[in-house]
Amino acid sequence: MKALRFERSPARFAAANLASRLSPGGGAKIGPLRLRTIDPPRLPGPGWVEVQPRLAGICGSDLATIDARSSRYFEPIVSFPFVPGHEVVADLAAPFGDLPAGRVVIEPVLGCATRGIDPVCAACARGDLGNCERIAFGAIEPGLQSGFCCDTGGGWSTRMVAHGSQLHPVPTDWSDEAAVMVEPTACAVHGALAADVAEGDLVVVLGSGALGLLTIAALRRFGRPCTIMAVAKHPTQHRLALALGADTVVLPRELTRAVRRASDSLALGDGDIIRLTGGADHVIDCVGSEQSVTDALAVVRPRGRVTMVGMPGHVHVDLTGLWQREIVLAGAYAYGTETLPSGERRRTFDLAFDLVGAADLGRLVSATYPLAQYEQAIAHAAAAGARGAVRIAFDLRNEKERDRA
């Protein structure tokens, strides 16, 4: 089968890192990602089934991996070589367990159930799959998600395998574009609810790429009534942020002044702001860069909360303010089970399905590419905002190899 495969190659890692400094997404041309003809993954055990990806999204963590910008933290929890692609809508050729044949969305987190570990860890027992404590153990090789594990394959190919517990049927009237947005939406729902926003709070959402936009939509649908200030660089992002529920949208350089006004804060500085004395109640960082973490800490109020939804890496940040202002800095990775403001507990993926349908989030898929054009696809995804796009995906539906064994 045809697949984009990520291989362990220090030289290519270095080249990708260098290339990405010149042009984001440049790592696709000379880095460890290669279009290969490989054998389809074997079923790791009972409870697993083969699926054929239809669409597979390209997310920020994929881009960081391709450009060799992601942290070495991941090394022990991924297994090489792996086929990326964890935002996947796929075909299930035949009924499997309770699931009918048809389209499915994959919930890619590889928790205890997928690893054949019984009894499951405490986190999985609670339904918090993203916090699984066994992600490098059990019946399959290490891998925090499908798309980062050598045993499962990933969505950037014509075939992969998935555990039955990972499969969610797609409503028949949904487009593939809507379905492929379920996984990133689940991340956003988790981030929005993890922030535990109180009624009337001022929430800043840093970044209006796909994750930021989905977080805005999630805050609006599932969170308590609050004021949402989005930070967007590009006109399309600005328009979509407002459409999905932001009250105001500002440019990055306007952020500090806008937060000061919105929070009735005073400021240090003689007209130019050196530092706010107050700030936003919450900042949800959907970028994960050094600059975004710095900005988040600069505009959150004392005892406010910064929730990191975008994947960070090594960042150099002055934490003096975090200490002096008693700021809570928390991560929000993946999904599992959420507690809604009403107290009700719901699977994140169920909430994501609800949100994708209600907010018509399939419209955020801006362009699709065949695997053969992966360099263009990656370049487009890396410059999505500037090019007026949100989510770029691979379209596997017309791949010749799809119907071959």
């Binding site: 105001t248 306007e254 002044r257 006004r261 005073l266 003689d270 007209g271 130019d272």
Partner: protein, 531 residues
């Protein structure tokens, strides 16, 4: 004998016309056969002996007022209020008119044995003046005698302990002014009437007022009913101030008004800048060389240097009249004297009005003419320099020339930055802006802190600048800025054009291809008297 202002019909022999363009210039050829240029009058003859004229005015007041010495007595409280940094434009060479007048008043006060004297810069919601600016205005001798003792102050419109509520007008407008001034036995107001908008009851009722009081006439409705605010008898802005003046007078606040007028000798008769005072077809060879050299040099300079050069310019304009006494009588005569210098008879309206905006407005002395001030200078001040009707018809097009940089002075204009980023990005409609945003800016603690302790304009000030444009925005069909920062121009809600020819082409979409054009050749200042 100085020549009066006049209107030139542009024909094929008309040379390119000078357009001021911030800290630079453009020479533009206007279409022959359908364009006209309104030129200002040449500078009126100055008073031969200004100090003697001042003394004469103080001793021979106008209206129902006793001579100043008769109003002064030992043990009284005397407050001398004076116009702030916004006047005159550009700042004048020393000695400033205010210095001359204040020294004369203090001489009489000393002779009468008055020892409780306070000087107050009547800056309303403008920024506080610096020591250097105060020294320039009142002179070193006065500054050194009063400032160290805390007797020379900037008015503080946000000092609750030093404001006094006086009463309300018959239209419900609240009158609240500086407590020290209100509780004085006499306010002597020292005024510079650069344009006809200045002076009268506006001096005290605005210059010494609080936001609570100012908001009653610094608003969209008032500005849309002031046609123009340079013509007191057609200006709701002035009617409101006059109503407030009545409340002040009826409550016992006693004002001795001293108003001065000046000629429009802005650029002098010597040096490279003097060419700007002349009419283009009268430029000598050396004038042409001077203009070409100046343009080239300015184009090569960094913006910062250009700004510094222009901001350092001190004009040689001189006093043409001084009158003192009762506020309203004084102001009638002052206005007539202003009009002698500024009014130019103009027949009818045209489809397009063009103007070249210079580097300075009342609110960026020693500062930056930010985009909001560009709008205010063009659509507020220059557009309103008319009596009768605007020189451009309703639904016509205004074309302004200015670089309009996206640049702000953070110390002077902090709330302007936020207004530009957060308000104009939402709407440019003055009514919506007033309803949705004004209060939060006016009561913002940080702006209040910076206004009171630093040198920032009050938080609400950018709103007033936008309201100043309200009449023009309602009257015009389109506003185009030539040579401006495209993003900044669009943020203002206007259209950008790279050349005047492009702008005229764009204007033709609104007013047709054979549209008639008026260019106002300002500065030096002129006022179109449109019949």
């Amino acid at each position: 004998m100085p020549r009066p202002g006049f209107v030139l019909d542009v024909d094929r022999s008309t040379p390119p016309i000078l357009f001021h363009h911030g800290e630079g210039f453009r020479l533009e050829r206007l279409p022959a056969g359908r364009s006209r240029v309104i030129y200002p009058a040449e500078p009126l003859e100055p008073l031969k002996n200004p100090d003697a004229a001042i003394r004469h005015a103080l001793l021979n007041p106008i209206g129902e007022s006793e001579p100043l010495p008769a109003l002064l007595r030992p043990g009284m409280r005397l407050t001398i209020a004076f116009d702030d940094i916004s006047l005159p434009l550009p700042p004048m060479k020393r000695p400033d008119i205010r210095q001359r007048v204040i020294e004369a008043v203090l001489e009489l006060a000393a002779a009468a044995g008055v020892d409780d004297v306070m000087l107050i810069a009547a800056l309303a919601l403008h920024r506080r003046m610096t020591e250097a600016e105060l020294r320039h205005a009142v002179g070193d001798r006065v500054y050194d005698a009063f400032a160290p003792q805390g007797l020379l102050l900037n008015h503080d419109a946000e000092d609750p302990d030093n404001l006094l509520f006086i009463g309300t007008t018959d239209k419900g407008e609240e009158v609240e002014i500086n407590r020290r001034a209100a509780e004085s036995d006499l306010i002597v107001y020292v005024n510079i009437n650069l344009v006809s908008m200045d002076g009268g009851w506006k001096s005290t009722a605005t210059g010494l007022a609080s936001y609570r009081s100012l908001r009653h006439h610094h608003n969209v409705r008032t500005m849309r009913h002031s046609k123009s605010f340079m013509d007191r008898h057609a200006s709701e802005l002035h009617s409101a101030n006059w109503r407030m003046g009545k409340v002040l007078r009826d409550s016992g606040v006693k004002v001795f008004q001293i108003e001065t007028t000046m000629n429009n000798d802005v650029f002098g008769t010597e040096g490279p800048m003097s060419v700007l005072q002349k009419r283009e077809w009268e430029w000598s060879l050396s004038d042409r060389i001077s203009m070409a050299g100046m343009k080239t040099a300015l184009d090569l300079m960094p913006q910062r240097t250009r700004r510094q050069i222009f901001q350092n310019w001190q004009a040689p304009h001189a006093m043409t009249s001084v009158q003192a006494g009762e506020v309203e009588a004084v102001h009638e005569l002052t206005t007539a004297n202003v009009f002698k210098q500024h009014l130019v008879p103009v027949e009818g309206q045209t489809d397009i009005l063009t103007m070249g905006l210079p580097y300075i407005s009342p609110y960026n002395v020693n500062s930056i003419l930010n985009p909001i001030l560009v709008a205010c200078l063009g659509l507020g001040y220059f557009f309103n320099l008319y009596r009768g009707r605007p020189p451009v018809r309703e639904g016509g097009v205004l074309i302004m020339s200015h670089p309009t940089p996206w640049e702000f002075h953070p110390v002077h204009h902090p709330s302007y930055i936020d207004f530009f980023e957060q308000v104009l990005s939402e709407t440019t409609d003055p009514i919506r802006i007033e309803a949705e945003f004004e209060k939060s800016f006016a009561t913002d603690e940080w702006y209040r802190h910076l206004y009171r302790t630093s040198h920032a304009y009050h938080g609400v000030h950018p709103f007033y600048m936008w309201y100043w444009c309200a009449h023009a925005l309602q009257h015009l069909g389109e506003v185009i800025i030539v040579g401006g920062d495209v993003r900044a121009v669009r943020r203002l809600g206007f259209k950008p054009a790279s050349t005047l020819q492009d702008a005229l082409e764009m204007a033709s979409d609104v007013v047709g291809r054979d549209a008639t054009i008026t260019h106002i050749h300002n500065p030096p200042i002129l006022m179109a008297d449109v019949h």
